[in-house]
């Protein structure tokens, strides 16, 4: 399954969330969105975003200073 990708590196709160919300609208339910960000606040924010919007945060990882989030669109 190929995932849609959102590059939010270099962007600060709340832009990664706003862009992810927009990008998710272009993802079919059940499909994945990968988000890359450098804002350290994004780790907590993406957890909260997924919980609030009823989407699933499949993975939240970090490599060097880049955070990667994999979100499955549920609804």
């Amino acid at each position: 399954m190929s995932a849609a990708v959102l590059d939010a590196k270099g962007l600060n709160c709340p832009l990664p969330i706003l862009k992810a919300k927009k990008a998710l609208q272009g993802v079919a339910p059940g499909e994945l969105l990968e988000v890359y960000a450098t804002d350290p606040g994004a780790v907590k924010d993406f957890e909260a975003f997924c919980r609030q919007t009823g989407n699933e945060l499949m993975a939240s990882t970090q490599e060097a200073n880049v955070f990667k989030f994999v979100i499955k669109r549920i609804k």
């Binding site: 962007l11 600060n12 709340p14 832009l15 706003l18 927009k22 450098t38 804002d39």
Partner: protein, 201 residues
């Protein structure tokens, strides 16, 4: 009523049953309800433009219903052209005065400029605003315009305070057409009453 032993027994049963059922029922109702937030935005400077637009756009992204009531200087945030929003370090001891360019050691210096100096240097606010805009850009922070657009796209209800429009001699034409409603406190308060989160900024 309470004198009837049957009723007392029944009341006791109902109370105990409600204690069991009610928390779950309330949680269900809460989960079904779309959260709502209302904000009163009262400030019209570059720095204070951020909190209402950040919170409103983020809440909209979370799927909440959001209304923002712009009153007094907050009306400046609804103007068609936002480029004249300024920040003033004068009388604002909380504002760090750091340079957005040069080597790292230079960028870390906090320039402690006395109010008396700030007040007499012509164009000091304009200079501070230019530096702040550069810092905003360097740090990947959104521009006010971008956050406002995100609010509009997210369906945030932007409301202008009609009294302040009159007071400051504005016309509706000064503001972006997405402002659908101009009203007063009596219209806003019932919205705030029904909201889960209500903020004054």
């Amino acid at each position: 009523m309470g004198a009837n032993p049957d009723n007392a027994l029944l009341d006791d049963l109902i109370r105990r049953r409600l204690d069991e059922i009610l928390p779950q029922k309330l949680a269900e109702l809460r989960a079904q309800k779309t959260p709502a937030m209302t904000i009163i935005a009262t400030k019209g400077t570059l720095d204070w433009a951020y909190p209402p637009f950040i919170l409103a756009s983020t809440a909209a992204a979370l799927g909440w219903n959001v209304s923002v009531f712009f009153t007094f200087y907050g009306l400046n945030l609804l103007k068609k052209d936002l480029s004249d929003l300024k920040v003033s370090p004068l009388g604002n001891p909380g504002m760090p005065m750091k340079m957005p360019f040069g080597p790292e050691w230079f960028k870390h210096i906090n320039w402690n400029i006395p109010n008396a100096v700030q007040a007499v240097v012509p164009g000091f606010e304009t200079l501070a605003t230019t530096l702040m805009k550069q810092t905003i850009h360097n740090k990947g922070v959104a521009e006010v315009e971008e956050l406002r657009s995100a609010c509009v796209e997210g369906g945030v209800n932007l409301i202008g305070c009609q009294m302040t429009v009159d007071l400051f001699g504005f016309t509706h034409d000064d503001f972006i057409p997405e402002v659908k409603e101009y009203c007063g406190a009596a219209t806003f308060l019932p919205m705030a009453r029904d909201a889960d989160v209500s903020l004054f900024i």
